[in-house]
């Protein structure tokens, strides 16, 4: 247990070990540890970010869905209105058509009746004249009474 040259040998060995450790052991191992710590920190940060992004995206999707529903409802509403308008218009047109056709029929009937009346009046006047002629042939000059006959015809 006396001090001897072993001291020198040990001191050299110690120095060499420390140098070796400093050169080849410590930097790569600590480097790996620190690198991994950084990677884990980055990963956690990225996952936080992704979570936030997801929440934003979900909110957006919900918003868009709501909008789409509202739009669809609006479109359906419009379509219903349009259909109602169309039906109303068609009905209106049908009505007016009918009125027109009926009015035309009445007009034709009137015209026909008037024409028949005219014919009848002419025939009646001719008949009356023929009758009056026969009655008056014997007593009255045909020409002298012509104005009276014409008056008669007018009155008919």
């Amino acid at each position: 247990m006396n001090i001897n040259a072993t001291l020198i040998g040990q001191a050299i060995a110690f120095a060499v070990f420390v140098w070796f450790c400093m050169k080849f052991v410590w930097p790569p191992l600590l480097g790996a540890i620190e690198e991994r710590q950084k990677m884990i920190a980055d990963g956690l940060e990225a996952s936080d970010q992704a979570e936030k992004d997801l929440a934003v995206a979900q909110a957006q999707a919900a918003e868009q869905l709501k909008e789409a529903k509202a739009q669809a409802a609006e479109i359906i509403e419009q379509a219903k209105k349009r259909a109602n308008v169309l039906v109303d218009e068609e009905t209106q047109r049908g009505h007016s058509e009918r009125e027109k056709i009926i009015a035309q029929g009445y007009a034709e009937i009137d015209a026909e009746r008037n024409r028949a009346k005219e014919d009848l009046r002419k025939q009646v006047s001719a008949l009356a004249i023929a009758g009056a002629e026969k009655i008056l042939a014997r007593e009255i000059d045909k020409d002298a009474q012509a104005d009276i006959v014409a008056k008669l015809v007018d009155e008919l």
Partner: protein, 277 residues
Amino acid sequence: MASEYTTTEYIQHHLTNAVMCTTENGIAFNKACSDAGFWSWHIDTLLWSIGLGVLFLWVFTNAARKATTGVPTKGQAFIEMTIEFVNSNVKETFHGKNAVIAPLALTIFVWVLLMNLMDLVPVDILPSIAGFIGSSAFGMDPHDVYMKAVPTTDLNLTFALALGVFFLIIYYSIKIKGISGFVKELTMQPFNHWAFIPVNFILESVTLIARPLSLALRLFGNLYASELIFILIATLGLWQLPLHFPWAVFHILVLPLQAFIFMMLTIVYLSLAHEDH
């Protein structure tokens, strides 16, 4: 316990280092080196400490080479745990920028821990193997083959570590504060007056020198004592069975603690050396 020993001889045998030296007749061992003086080598201490140091560096370099930044293997995770442990201790204590302190602390912690753990190897195994090899391969008397396998029970090793730390303390003191700053620190504290310079110098020198001294002696004393008690327990015959176990369990705490204290004090001393008053 070999039966032909007396207890005293047995204890002495287990606490003697294997020595190598050069004499006029070439390389000599053990008792032939008794008057070789300073230039003799404790080959068991050197062998075990360097072997364990190489083991430490081999394991850690392997881990460093295979280190990935992705999911670590269990082995890598264990190595990284050690690195993280040392790194957090260094960061808590030392606030400057220094590329040496952390690897130094790691080397001290793991290396001293490995050497301390040799204490848990049953005390007879390695000396017996060494004695067997010595007697069968070199024709030596097994009693003359020594093998003290716990390097930290050798003052040479603990002083080598402490002096390395001491050298760094002085180096960084001068590097950070300059020679004048370092001298001022030694002479103008704690009493800031020129008349007190000698008193201050004595006080501060004692403080400075006490650091490596206490580092070396604490580690040596703890390990030497625990090894001695392991050996004493081994002399008790059957009684060693119930006694050895609690003592060994106790050392699961003591051995890492001593390694940790050595590392921690190294960091503290070096961070003190970086502080400019």
